[in-house]
């Protein structure tokens, strides 16, 4: 039965599509191949989520080699949700990409873009689906290398330095993670995540395990751009091609965040990470710094892409804050925000992609009066922005609600107040754009010749916007899966 092989198909289809795109060397064929691969991956992710909801955890022994000799793929509620959101955003972005890429990349490199894109996608899905710590590292490198190249594809020359910066930081992060995994292997003799989680408690008291914990935490923190390790992010997001920004912003940091959850909760376990190690207080302090500093920096940006990049730094803070509560509600909030933030940022960066398609840049100055010329694009930006602020009836409200309930549960009401007040900082930077687009007179030179973006770009943007609204009103799927996932991670139930 093919359904048994879904976990491996999830990874192998995008990976195989990459050389096909390269061989095709025609941008239309490459686009079709990568699009088909991405949608197939989305379908598989949906089926996998359905199976885990019905049957519980799915395990798959790669090549028939049984654990612990072979590599195991393992899908539970946590990564099933991540697989779904990554493939969904990826498919929307690829549908969007056809027109945008032609405009922003040199035509000779377009098929390379598609090849790298599916390679990166395959890497991200591999990280998510695997149940083996070393395999996870390998996929992490695949996706990271692909994304460095994706950023460097841009015609903008500053993209090269941005990519180099990202490569530098990313490699340090990866090395740290590898050192950590090596130390864990030394102590336990296994790389299988389930095995690790069973054998670690016996040796947890050693300094080696504590060192491994420190290396891994810092390594992953670089990958998720937790302040103060976020320095690679703003430049990478600003200078990358629009579609790459949308894809990486919505998926790469989310997958890295998933890796953090996996290591902290499944491998090390709550009691080690939060009782033996002072993770809670460190994460809370860093998260609050990220939220305040990221949001404040965003307010002062004139380039809207950079503004949203700093906003991402802040939003990552909210997710980390959810972890630092170390409770079922806090963790639910973090997982919900992982999903919801991917929807928001995906939608917002695609809307900006539309703007860049017509204007070439996304500066606030140039966007004055754009509400008239590009009504659908700017309406999408407004709704996405409101979702980012956390206005009711959008996904942003749902994650904020859980975060505040989580904080109040523990009696930390200043934290609840901080979460709510920082949404106002978000409002300020979103509103600068809204005000410019709707209530300021257009730039004289541009006058009225700006037209709405092509339909092939508007449709995927609006699909994500509608998802922002839909999952803000009907949360049965997301909240159920997220709260079950949180309980699984905390070991409260199967």
């Amino acid at each position: 039965m093919i359904t048994q092989h879904l976990p491996i198909l999830q990874v192998i289809i995008p990976l195989l599509a990459a050389p096909l795109c390269l061989l095709a060397s025609d941008r239309r064929v490459a686009w079709a191949v990568s699009l088909a691969a991405s949608w197939a991956a989305f379908l598989i992710a949906a089926l996998l989520l359905d199976q885990t909801l019905k049957l519980g955890v799915i395990t798959y022994a790669l090549g028939g080699w049984s654990v612990p000799w072979g590599i195991e793929y393992r899908v539970d509620n946590v990564n099933a949700l991540v697989l779904l959101i990554v493939t969904a955003v990826s498919s929307a972005v690829l549908t969007f990409a056809r027109r945008s890429v032609v405009k922003e990349l040199p035509s000779a490199r377009v098929h390379l873009f598609y090849a790298l894109y599916v390679l990166c996608l395959g890497g991200l899905l591999g990280i998510t689906v695997t149940g083996d710590a070393f395999n996870l590292f390998v996929f992490m490198e695949i996706s990271a290398l692909a994304s460095y190249a994706l950023i460097a594809l841009s015609e903008e020359r500053r993209a090269l330095t941005a990519s180099y910066q990202y490569l530098f930081m990313g490699t340090i992060g990866a090395t740290f993670i590898l050192i950590g995994i090596g130390l864990l292997y030394m102590m336990t003799g296994t790389l299988n995540i389930q095995d690790l989680s069973q054998r670690l408690p016996a040796v947890a008291a050693s300094h080696t395990v504590e060192t491994a914990f420190a290396f891994i935490t810092v390594g992953i923190s670089i990958k998720i751009a937790l302040m103060p390790l976020h320095l690679w992010l703003p430049n990478a997001y600003t200078y990358a091609p629009s579609v790459v920004t949308a894809f990486i912003a919505a998926t790469a940091t989310k997958v890295a965040f998933y890796v953090l959850l996996r290591f902290m909760f499944t491998i090390f376990g709550v009691s080690f990470a939060f009782k033996n190690m002072p993770l809670s207080i460190i994460f809370m302090a860093l998260a609050l710094t990220a939220i305040f500093a990221g949001s404040t920096a965003a307010i002062f940006q004139d380039n809207v892409k950079r503004m949203l990049a700093y906003s991402s730094v802040a939003q990552i803070g909210y997710m980390i804050l959810g972890i630092s509560l170390a409770s079922a509600t806090g963790l639910t909030a973090a997982i919900l925000h992982l999903f919801n933030h991917a929807l928001m940022k995906g939608a917002l960066f695609l809307a900006l992609g539309c703007v860049c398609y017509r204007l070439g840049v996304a500066n606030i100055e140039q966007m004055r009066g754009l509400g008239r010329g590009m009504p659908w694009t700017m309406a999408a930006f407004v709704i996405g922005g409101l979702s980012l602020v956390g206005v009711p009836l959008t996904v942003g409200f749902i994650s904020k609600w859980y975060l505040v309930v989580g904080a109040l549960e523990q009696g930390w009401w200043p934290l609840a107040v901080a979460v709510l007040l920082t949404s106002l900082l978000t409002l300020i930077y979103v509103w600068r754009v809204v005000e410019a687009a709707y209530f300021q007179t257009p730039v004289a030179a541009r006058a009225d010749d700006v037209r709405e973006a092509p339909r092939s770009m508007l449709l995927p943007t609006w699909a994500l916007i509608i998802a922002n609204l839909y999952f803000g009103i009907d949360t049965r799927l997301t909240v159920d899966v997220a709260s079950q996932a949180a309980r699984q991670l905390l070991g409260l139930s199967g």
């Binding site: 009711p392 107040v417 300021q440 803000g472 009907d474």
Partner: protein, 491 residues
């Protein structure tokens, strides 16, 4: 129409209208017709709900369940019914008025204007019919956001700055205080439903509940309790129909409606009466009433004066709620209606004067009664209603509010209410009196001024007659308000 069809119809009509208007393109007559039809349909469907609700039925509708055990749902009860009837009836009138006003002023961006107007009414109806705190909060926020484009309508630098103030001063407390209070209530009571007699009693110590009550009082900035009132004068930069319907009726009444709701159904009047905070909040309300009246006295711009008058009058409703006696609640809820009719009349008149003469400052309105007798007569009636003099409806609500202060043994508050009535007589009555009895200035006489367009006059006439009608037929409203304090409809 039975309640099962009337309720969904009442809820979805304004939203559907807003969408249709947004897609009507730039066909002027079409969007005006759509606005009229939508408002009429809304009024009819809300009216159809009334008989059943007054007989004690509580028709409900669940729209969605965004959070487990926390649905977005509608439940119609007497107070919400009153608010919904008020907003939908005055929307029809305002639409008629807008058609004349917006054409005469040659305003642009009218599709956005009418669409956002319908959206704001959707939010107001959503608030009126909300079946739990979450729903009420959600539509409170929708109302803020949907009125923002109306405030900044003109797009001038001043409009944008006022818009920022408006949005910031309404959203910041609603997120920082109100949302926190709602979630805290959820933590304490385990429910956000509206319960007769309140759901919070005994869930925490009185001092904690007192803090929570203050969070609500300050979080609901739409009730314009000082020092959170600055957004209302800022909103006056909007076109007059917006100031009239939204910033004298829907938005501000939404604020005091929220206060009445939590007083009645979340805390319960017995608990409110026991809380220590209540006493301080009562003094704050009284201070708001007096200070806003004093500021109004000094404003020469007519709309600014009316805005401060609104702040003062909203204080009456809040005070009525915080008195936590049956007369206070009855007076507060009646005042919601009476003030709405009076103030919308005054704003309509201010707009009519602006359209006919381009004048917005009071000092230039001397002798205007000679050229615009109908407008200035209506202004007089509206002013009488606000002051609380017969033959206008405002008498009755002030009567009950004063009775409420005596019931609660708060003689100082009674004095504050009376002083403020005197002040309002000063700042409002002088305007029509000078218009009728002072000689017009030379420029005014030279200009050949005539009354505003017919559609404006129709609207003004309707609301002015409404003020008088409410004086003679207030018993119907009183019967509804009595239901809130546990009395029977026919009793």
């Amino acid at each position: 129409m039975n309640p099962e069809t009337a309720l969904p119809l009442a809820f979805w009509t304004p939203l559907g209208g807003a969408v249709l208007i947004a897609f009507s393109g730039s066909r002027g007559a079409m969007r005006e017709l759509l606005s009229l039809v939508t408002s009429a349909l809304l009024f009819v469907s809300v009216t159809a709900l009334a008989p059943a609700v007054l007989e004690g039925a509580r028709p409900g509708l669940t729209i969605a369940e965004p959070l487990p055990r926390l649905p977005l749902q509608l439940t119609v009860e007497p107070l919400g019914l009153m608010f919904a009837l008020l907003a939908s009836l005055l929307w029809i009138v305002t639409t008629v008025y807008s058609i004349g006003y917006m054409r005469a002023r040659r305003e642009t961006n009218l599709t956005r204007f009418y669409a956002c107007f319908a959206l704001s009414l959707w939010a107001a109806v959503g608030m009126a019919l909300a079946g739990n705190l979450l729903t009420l909060f959600v539509f409170y926020e929708v109302l803020t956001l949907s009125t923002y484009p109306l405030v900044t309508h003109s797009g001038s630098e001043q409009a944008r700055r006022s818009g920022r103030l408006y949005l910031g001063l309404l959203l910041a407390p609603s997120v920082g205080f109100l949302l926190l209070a709602v979630i805290w209530t959820w933590q304490l009571a385990g429910t956000l439903d509206f319960v007769e007699g309140g759901s919070l009693r005994g869930t925490a110590s009185p001092s904690v509940l007192g803090i929570l009550f203050a969070l609500y009082a300050f979080g609901i900035a739409k009730a314009a309790l000082m020092p959170l009132h600055r957004w209302l004068p800022a909103a006056m930069v909007a076109p007059t129909p917006v100031s009239a319907l939204l910033h004298a009726v829907a938005v501000v009444k939404g604020g005091v409606f929220f206060i009445l709701k939590i007083t009645l159904y979340v805390f319960g009047i017995d608990l409110v009466a026991e809380l220590q905070t209540t006493q301080w909040l009562l003094y704050l309300a009284a201070a708001t009433i007096l200070l806003a009246s004093l500021v109004a006295l000094r404003k020469d711009n007519l709309k600014a004066r009316l805005a401060y008058s609104t702040i003062s009058q909203l204080g009456y409703v809040v005070l009525g709620a915080f008195l936590a006696t049956s007369s206070g609640i009855i007076g507060g809820s009646l005042h919601m209606i009476m003030h709405a009719f009076g103030k919308i009349t005054l704003f309509f008149c201010a707009g009519a004067i602006l359209v006919a003469t381009q004048i917005s400052s009071i000092s230039q309105m001397q002798g205007l009664g000679r050229y615009m007798p109908l407008t200035m007569s209506a202004f007089l009636i509206g002013a009488l209603s606000i002051i609380g003099l017969p033959p206008a409806g405002g008498v009755w609500s002030k009567w009950f509010l004063m009775l409420g202060t005596l019931e609660a043994g708060q003689q100082a508050l009674l004095a504050a209410l009376m002083a403020s009535s005197l002040l309002s007589a000063l700042y409002l009555l002088m305007i029509p009196l000078r218009a009728f009895f002072s000689p017009p200035s030379a420029e005014l006489a030279a200009e050949g001024i005539r009354e505003a367009p017919l559609s404006c006059l129709l609207a003004i006439g309707f609301t002015a007659l409404g003020c008088v009608g409410l004086f003679f037929y207030a018993d119907a409203l009183y019967a509804v308000a009595r239901l809130l304090t546990g009395g029977g409809y026919h009793g």
